[in-house]
Amino acid sequence: MDTWSLILDGWNTAITPSNLLFCLIGVVVGTVIGLLPGLGSATGVALLLPLTLTMEPVTALIMLAGIYYGSQYGATISAVLIGTPGDSASLVTMFDGYPMAQKGRAGAALSSAAIASFIGGTVSLVLLMVAMPILSSFALKFGPPETVALAILAMLSVAGFAGSSLAKAIAMGLLGVIIATIGIDGQSAIPRYTFGQVELFGGLGLIPVLIGLVALAEVLRQLNQGEKKPLRAGWRDMMINKEELRRTWKPAGRGSLIGFFIGILPGAGATLASFISYEAERRSMKNGKKLLGTGMIEGVAGPESANNAAANGAFVPMLTLGVPGSATTAILLGAFMVFGVQPGPLLLTQEPTLVWGLILSFWIGNVILLVLNLPLAPLFAAILRFRYIFIYPAILLLCLAGAFSIQNRMWSVWIALGFAVVGFFMQRFSYPVAPLILGLVLGPLLEKGLDRSLAIAHGDPSIFLTRPISLTILILAFALFVGPTVLRFIRRKAKSPSTVDAALKSSVLEDSE
């Protein structure tokens, strides 16, 4: 079957009534979650993953992907209306979106963001459709040593972009791998670190740990925090005018390309893409340095298209190589595994309908987002008028009931609660969550790959350096790990802070992405 027939099959899967319905639910729920400050896409996906357990894998993944990009748009609504980004990727949108709202152009900012997100989603989808088969055929040359190199690349690149403290990021990545070693060893069937407890034989479980670490910890963090009053945006105020629409296209186009190519790099993520796009707009505008930040629509359109395109781009390494590039894609990778689907080089050959169905559902989700958000943004924004004390009981409910539902045992709920405390203190002392999640997801993959590689090489570890692909990936990993540190050093010498610098600083926020 040629690629186009497979894509057509995927399209037919994506447009079945149930898949369309769950795509819509995912996008709407994602938008609502995303606009609650602090609750990013990672929280949304972790929170609602248990609800998808009884669904068909493709339907569940379509809904989870809908939550992913829905929450990114939701985060934009709160960034524009109350100057509090719901997600780190929307931080840049706030720089011009919030001033626009203060000038009475909240609607134009939100509409421009919706249009730019749609352009970003569409352009990146086309690129994704071209890149996927090429990368998949290339990825077929990958053996266990290359898998190990990729796992190292993903973990080191995320650690390299981990913001304020490299040591903390490394510690969290290691802790993730350590937690993943609890339970029966996949290779030898020996129970490890179970201390005689039968409950621990199956490990701590990925989802309860994620629920605790990401969602419950966020509730604890937000307890009794001050709430900002939203600006009220009327229906007439929501309309974008012709001039604003004209100024949206070009930044959106630039942002889409930047976003996609940044998004496919493991560890870089949507936040960095949006910062780089903002920097590009600053350079391309006349008086950009002075004007951006005062409420310019270009400062909304560029970063918004970039973060949406990056979200799609992040699926390339995840689907073709099985390597997630961010906390959210790591959780989604976990979701794939829960449904018995193993992302990697063989996925496109083994599950073409699922892959293309999922990818095309991204575009459908973007259409839904556009149609919903142009007229309904004020309605979504009304949720921000609820006090947080009436919202977090529902979040607690989803966390506790979700943790229980995974295996129908209270043990999982206790694990979630325990990791909520861990996650709370991690946030309190600026320990990034993303490396821990990656370590947790990639730990077993790394161990299995190491075991097989060493078995092939009869115990000779130089196998990782003698195979060209593995060596190239390891060099890339090293460059991505050392790069940000060197960049920081050079910039410190030059003493000229830029917005990309700010992206690196704020990428500790990337955890919530």
Binding site: S165, A167, I170, R192, L220, M410, F429
Partner: protein
């Protein structure tokens, strides 16, 4: 300012020490599973040993950096001037997440002026995170007995009443509505069973 830094440093040292402890336990425990496999393969203890040792070393680094004055959290690019530092510390104190004892810094002086009964009543709001965790833990203990819906409703009522200081009627309403929503969502819509009370 100094107190803030001392508390933060103490926390950093405690977490660094915990990392060292976890790393050491893992590395030592790995010895029991074998460190070298047969035929060049990986033994069950190889990866935990390597990660345990690396974690302990990273923990030592973090602790040492805190102890010897280097700023682990700070950005090397940006040296704060004094006024900026004070502003940052103040806004940090206002905006930072409430920790288990966060209320203690600004609410303890008020608490000491209260009677014992009033002090006990004021505790949940002064220590919100600790209290919510306690309520959640009690709720989880009750779940096998009372079932999910009743236990969860009780937890929400307790949180809203004692931590958020809401009227009992509001707390009851939110508790019951949330529990009902949970029942409909999980049990009815998605067919995911939740713990039932012993009497059903």
């Amino acid at each position: 300012m100094t107190m803030l830094r001392l508390r933060s440093s103490f926390g950093e040292i405690v977490i660094g020490t915990i990392l060292i402890a976890i790393g050491t336990v893992w590395a030592v425990g790995a010895g029991g599973y074998g460190l070298l496999g047969e035929g060049g393969r990986l033994a069950p203890g190889t990866l935990p040993f390597a990660c345990g040792v690396a974690l302990a070393i990273t923990g030592v680094f973090i602790t040492a950096k805190t102890l010897f004055g280097a700023r682990i959290d700070s950005d090397p690019d940006h040296e704060l001037d004094e006024s900026e530092a004070i502003a940052t510390a103040e806004s940090g104190a206002e905006q930072s997440a409430p920790d288990l004892g966060s209320g203690a810094s600004d609410k303890t002086p008020v608490l000491t002026r209260l009677s014992t009964a009033a002090r006990i009543r004021a505790l949940p709001a002064a220590y919100p995170v600790g209290t919510v965790l306690l309520f959640l833990a009690v709720g989880l203990l009750l779940m096998p007995l009372l079932g999910f819906a009743i236990s969860f409703a009780l937890v929400i009522v307790a949180i809203l009443r004692f931590v958020e200081k809401q009227a009992l009627r509001t707390a009851l309403l939110v508790g019951v509505v949330t529990s009902l929503f949970g029942f409909l969502l999980f049990e009815v819509l998605f067919n995911l069973p939740l713990p039932e009370p012993f009497f059903l």
